[in-house]
Symmetry: C2
């Protein structure tokens, strides 16, 4: 009681839930979250009271959860993927000081960078960056700067929110920035509906990624100079020496 | 059979296992891995045959797993955290073409960036990079370049392998690079033995982080200009507008 769990449930189906996340959802008297994410756990906890708000009402949702906890309830804020990566954990912790006595506990989960990578193979086998292409809370110029510097530094990239209503060209614009730093044949990949019905994926060069029409349920992976397509899988070696110990180019 | 699961088991105790990871470990006839990681799942599967090799024998370990799978066994390669992030998934996929008929399936897990972040609060609430400070497979000059460009671009940073035998000064050297780009009061944090007995953590400014004597079981978090310490938690807002909708500095 007097507690809000910020729970990362992974990409979708129950098989990606950690035991810790399942226990937190079980303990909760009330499940809060974006409608789509609450639907993902409906089968597990069909009778739990729930409070759903649309995508842009994050603040209202967090305030409601904290208010309910202040009144003695145990609340779970259900987040897709991880609770802290583009999730609700930070907003809950920012607002929590207004609700003395309420504890916010963060329960981590398998974020799309990890679950999507596993579908493609091992694209994030070395240092990587996660970048959201949503400019709802971040100026686009800053997103472009981050993409350019990350590519210049040889980071692998995982792109969240490659498109949404009204931003259909974000991925194309991001690819144009990356193409100023990376060769067009750079191995890339995307995964749509990770761990959900209709999961699909593709491995393709950066020049072709630029043409793809992807939606907001897709996660995109950009390789570095060592990333290869091996037997249909996207693979980035862990270091600069090959499996035989020979130096890589 | 004829299968190697690359399984991410999360930071340690069984509560961080996903249902998918547990099922893969159950299905396996043989558990392979670095000795320390195999010990983490010993209580769950005390009677499973196991093949353990020390830290630097990754290639031998992967070849053994693939050979056993080629002979008809189902093998689980146990990785701490996620199987693809500084784990064995990429090496298995690189070597797999030498073992026709063997399937490598990657099972994601909660990597230290996520589990450590949850202990501290929500340090990775915006775009972030993961960087390993180990120069065993990567030249140190490249690590320094990545740190500098990541900090310049305003990325949050999660540092893996901040120290190891013979590299006690890696964190100090990394902090010195970061201090050329970030103010000394930048909010940072570290977590040691995440999800294991003896877990400890600290939130401190970058200038103080430089002095810390941390070991290889520690994960380090570097904030950006928006990261704050709020009621003892390390919190990075999701965007550049505050919880009240006001623009941030």
């Amino acid at each position: 009681m007097n507690k809000v769990f910020a729970v990362g449930i992974g990409p979708g189906s129950a098989e990606f839930l950690t035991q810790q996340a399942r226990a937190a959802l079980e303990e909760a008297d009330l499940l809060c979250g974006y409608t789509t994410y609450l639907d993902l756990v409906r089968d597990l906890f069909p009778d739990k009271p729930r409070y759903a708000t649309p995508m842009t009402k994050e603040r209202d949702r967090c305030l409601y959860a904290l208010e309910q906890a202040a009144q003695g309830r145990t609340v779970a804020m259900v987040c897709s993927g991880d609770a802290g990566v583009y999730g609700m954990a930070s907003l809950l912790l920012e607002l929590a000081p207004g609700f003395p006595g309420v504890l916010v506990e963060v329960v981590p989960g398998v974020t799309a960078a990890l679950s999507g990578a596993a579908v493609l193979g091992a694209p994030l086998g070395h240092d990587f960056c996660a970048v959201s292409l949503s400019d709802r809370l971040t100026p686009w110029a800053q997103i472009e700067t981050r993409l350019a510097l990350a590519a210049e530094a040889g980071f692998l990239l995982c792109l969240y929110n490659p498109a949404s209503r009204g931003r259909s060209d974000a991925l194309r614009r991001a690819c144009d920035v990356l193409l100023t730093k990376l060769p067009p044949e750079t191995v890339c990949g995307w995964v749509r509906n990770i761990g959900r019905p209709g999961q699909e994926s593709r491995i393709l060069p950066l020049s072709a990624l630029r043409q793809e029409a992807l939606d907001m349920f897709t996660t995109v992976f950009i390789g570095n100079a060592t990333t290869r397509c091996i037997a249909g899988r996207m693979v980035t070696p862990r270091g600069y020496r090959g499996p035989e110990g020979a130096a890589r180019p």
